[in-house]
């Protein structure tokens, strides 16, 4: 590994302060063989209707938790009802069931320090629960009632709409939020399923009926149920079968085929008067996780954007002191093209300097050769901490649920690790050629235009395009772009 001499007695090294310079004393400290460890995999049970259960017993503490993962999320919302999932995830839980209102449920659960929550995401929704062991039967029963017999209430939907409207009118107060959302729009397009945003108009058009339809429809797809904690597996399996095996055969959803063209290269500006630091996003379209190059790209991410060790951090933060926050890389989502994103946050006056420095490092992936040392270090970083992807039973369970959801093989982590071990300098070179195209990058700056001196023209990337972020339906003053 690091040329460690295992037999060396530690006491010879002490006191460390007297050791001669350049002696790399850390390489002389013994690193014994790691204790034997075989992470406990959850038991996978496929019901005859296609629903999948995962059981992960863990008796350390007297708790039981569980979740039902449901396919379908915000990317499937009708565009004129953007924000539906955000409303659904709130109103589902706060409405409760016909027999027990959401408020009554809160009272009962909180008195037991237990929880039932519902959530919505880009590609899924979920109901989860967790309680002390002795309450787990009752809490499971309540969660199942909420799953199969929700009673969406107009009043709770209205409450969710109010909450959501507060988020909408506030969204231009947050510089980071603006930068993240608007840069994604540059890459995927403003109205793509991955970037369209809830507006006052779209959320107010959502009805109770919409929530009910969504719920009934998504429940017919393949559910994935995961349980972890202090329970008896045989009894739990019987219990889950009784609830889920009676459901009809699942109807598989058609595979998505998202096509994106990537950003129009150039410089984009969103002016914000009340900040003294710019948020710079340098973005492009990248591959998804099925790419044969994922392991190589993960190593390249570490070399480019890794905290403390990456080229960006070393140059822009450590050497130039231009930013506290700098980094980035490829997102590699499981089932659609991801973003390549580099982010740097310099003070207004240093915007051009910092952006140029970051662009040089990105282009440098093709021009500045990867060294063996650099590659080894990046691989050590990833591989020696790989253990932390499965050091708790909950993490192992979550990984298996994720793989099941996206249709990846159960041993994905092992094959991915093996691929990481094999990454070479040549792999990186060809991956950089394949995926790093400086001429295709878009640069978005959210910042205080009057303080950005020199101006963004100095980047020599063509005319600066202003992006309008006025919030429809408000007299948005807080962040709107000037024409």
């Amino acid at each position: 590994m690091k040329g460690l001499s295992l037999g060396l007695c530690a006491s010879l090294l002490l006191p460390g302060l007297l050791v001669a310079q350049q002696s790399k004393p850390w390489e002389k400290i013994p690193v014994p063989r790691l204790h034997e460890f075989k992470p406990q995999q959850p038991q996978r049970i496929e019901l005859k209707n296609g629903i999948v259960l995962f059981l992960q017993p863990d008796h350390e503490l007297p708790f039981v938790s569980g979740a039902v993962l449901i396919r379908g999320g915000s990317r499937e919302e009708p565009p004129d009802k953007a924000g539906l999932i955000g409303l659904y995830e709130q109103a589902w839980r706060t409405s409760g069931t016909e027999k027990m209102s959401g408020d009554a449920m809160d009272d009962l659960l909180e008195a037991k320090a237990a929880h039932i929550e519902t959530e919505g995401d880009e590609d899924s929704t979920a109901i989860s629960w967790d309680s002390l062991k002795d309450d787990s039967d009752q809490v499971f029963g309540m969660a199942m009632k909420l799953l199969f017999h929700p009673s969406f209430s107009a009043q709770k939907l209205a409450l969710a709409q109010q909450q959501e409207s507060a988020a909408i009118v506030r969204r231009n107060d947050d510089e980071d939020g603006i930068a993240a959302r608007e840069s994604a729009k540059l890459v995927y397009g403003a109205n793509s399923p991955y970037t369209r945003q809830p507006e006052l108009e779209t959320i107010s058009s959502v009805t109770v009926n919409d929530l009910e339809e969504w719920h009934d429809r998504t429940l017919k797809e393949k559910l994935i149920i995961g349980i972890s904690g202090d329970f008896d597996p045989a009894a739990m399996e019987a219990r889950l079968r009784a609830v889920f095996e009676v459901l009809p055969q699942v109807t598989p959803e058609p595979k998505r085929h998202d096509e994106f063209t990537g950003p129009k290269p150039g410089v984009y500006l969103i002016n914000k008067d009340d900040v003294d630091q710019s948020n710079v996003q340098i973005v492009a379209l990248g591959p998804d996780r099925t790419s044969p190059d994922v392991a190589t790209l993960a190593v390249m991410d570490e070399i480019l954007g890794g905290d403390f060790v990456g080229r960006l951090f070393q140059k822009v933060r450590t050497e130039l002191g231009l930013a506290y926050s700098v980094g980035g890389g490829f997102a590699l989502p499981y089932d659609h093209a991801g973003m390549f994103r580099v982010e740097v946050l310099p003070q207004s006056a240093k915007t051009v300097d910092a952006t140029k420095a970051a662009l040089v490092e990105i282009a440098g992936l093709n021009t500045r050769p990867f060294t063996e040392t650099e590659v080894k270090r990046a691989k050590d970083d990833i591989l020696n901490s790989f253990l932390f992807r499965y050091d708790t039973r909950d993490k192992v369970l979550a990984e298996q649920e994720r793989l099941e959801f996206y249709g990846f093989p159960a041993d994905y982590l092992e094959t991915y690790k093996a691929a990481l071990e094999k990454v070479t300098v040549d792999d990186l070179k060809s991956a950089a050629r394949k995926y790093i195209h400086p001429e295709k990058l878009a640069v978005l700056v959210v910042g205080n235009e009057s303080e950005i001196k020199p101006g963004l023209e100095a980047l020599d990337l063509g005319a600066v395009k202003n992006v309008d972020i006025t919030i429809p339906g408000t007299h948005d003053a807080s962040g709107g772009a000037e024409k």
């Binding site: 002490l14 408020d103 109010q162 450590t318 231009l322 901490s385 932390f388 807080s478």
Partner: protein, 497 residues
Amino acid sequence: MMAICGSWMVSSGQDLKSFEQRTAVKVLGNGLTLIVCERHDAPVFSYTTFIDAGDVNDPMGEGGLAHMFEHLAFKGTSEIGTTDYAAEKLALDKVEAANKAYESEYLKPAGGNEKRLAELKAAFVKAQAEAHKYVVPNQFTQIAQANGADGLNAQTGMDETEYYWSMPENRLELWAWMESSRLADAVPREFYKERDVVMEERRMRVDSDPVGRLIEQFAATAYVAHPYGRSDIGWPSEVGQITATEAMAFHRKYYVGADIVVAVVGDVDTKTAMPMLERYFSRVPGGPKPEDMTTVEPRQFAEKSVVVKEQSQPFYIEGYHRPSYRDPDDVVFDAISDIMSNGRVSRLYRTMVEKEQIAAEAEGFTGYPGEKYPSLFAFYAVPLPGHNPSEMREAIHNEIDRLKTTDVTDAELEMFKTRARADLLRGLADNQGMANSLAEYQTRYGDWRELFLELDKADKVTKADIRRVANKVFVASNRTSAEIDTETAPQKSGGGN
């Protein structure tokens, strides 16, 4: 065995007992305390180094110093991060001298001579470049990460500074060497560039965030004497002028054994680990525990307020002075915070969010901006569109009045106690969380067991306690409020601030 008699309500004594069996504490000759807690679930460990000093200890005029030193602690030692420390040390001394010459000209009341300033600045830049020749940048962190460090970070609060990460268990000795090295042998490497980095951190957290700006003014207004009122990251003119010499003086004074607790939780064998840890951590200098900060915030006798008019969305916060964590009523504030703010059953949610529908969020929280000294109990609310800070204020005051005049219900009080117990129990399976808690409680109470014993205090809180404390603390003359009042934009101009 956690459960007894079919009840989950494990007595705190039971949890404590199981913990005591696998937790060892050793105070070294230099005063440093080591805690090792065994948990053999996976071949990993987490650690927290807890320094009983934070930005409250920054000397006058040097606000942000503790945080600045925290950044320095990642820059290496005389052995890590240098190609030739003897030569580097001479070069670093020259950097200090050059900086001193530059800053004394810069800080002249008349503003300094421009030509002279340019010369001195050039000399300073040159001295830094000279010292940089010996630097192996970020080597400390690189060694840690190449050896599997996960979640590597540090944070500086008003009261304390914490360093932490997790690692595979076979790197325990490597970690002990690294951590004890940086505690005992810090080097002010690349200090002035790191100061620029911290200035960017300030711009990100405070200057470019409307609520960040407001909160800084809120604390500054609430306190007239105690350093809790100072910006925790430092006022620009102070943190921008801190020198490496000052940072190293802070280190010498506060990074002594008596001020440090190191907790390790995970797949560790105490019998073999403790002597090894003792060998390494004995390198940390001893010396007496530095005297405590002695300024006491005088009693507030009139309400104070901050009103910021700007184009961002409205926001309201108010705070009341409360005693420190050592006060017997500390746990009563926890109860109030829980009943007012915890979840959808909480009073502020039920009234302001659900019933009156004027706020998107409303909560109260205790122990701001620290806990070690008398601090604030604060309430904040985020108005829904169409509602304003004065409505938030009124609604919060109504809820406070209810707390003063009517007892909380049995159910509310019981809920607080149940959740406190369950939360503690839930945290036990998290190595990093436990390392933080053990180190913190050992520092604050001189005994980590207080983490469990605190539950007994929670169990003793009564309805009368809550009314008594609310009536004593939540009074107008003890209040500071701060709000953002939204101004409409001037017609299509770039204006604003």
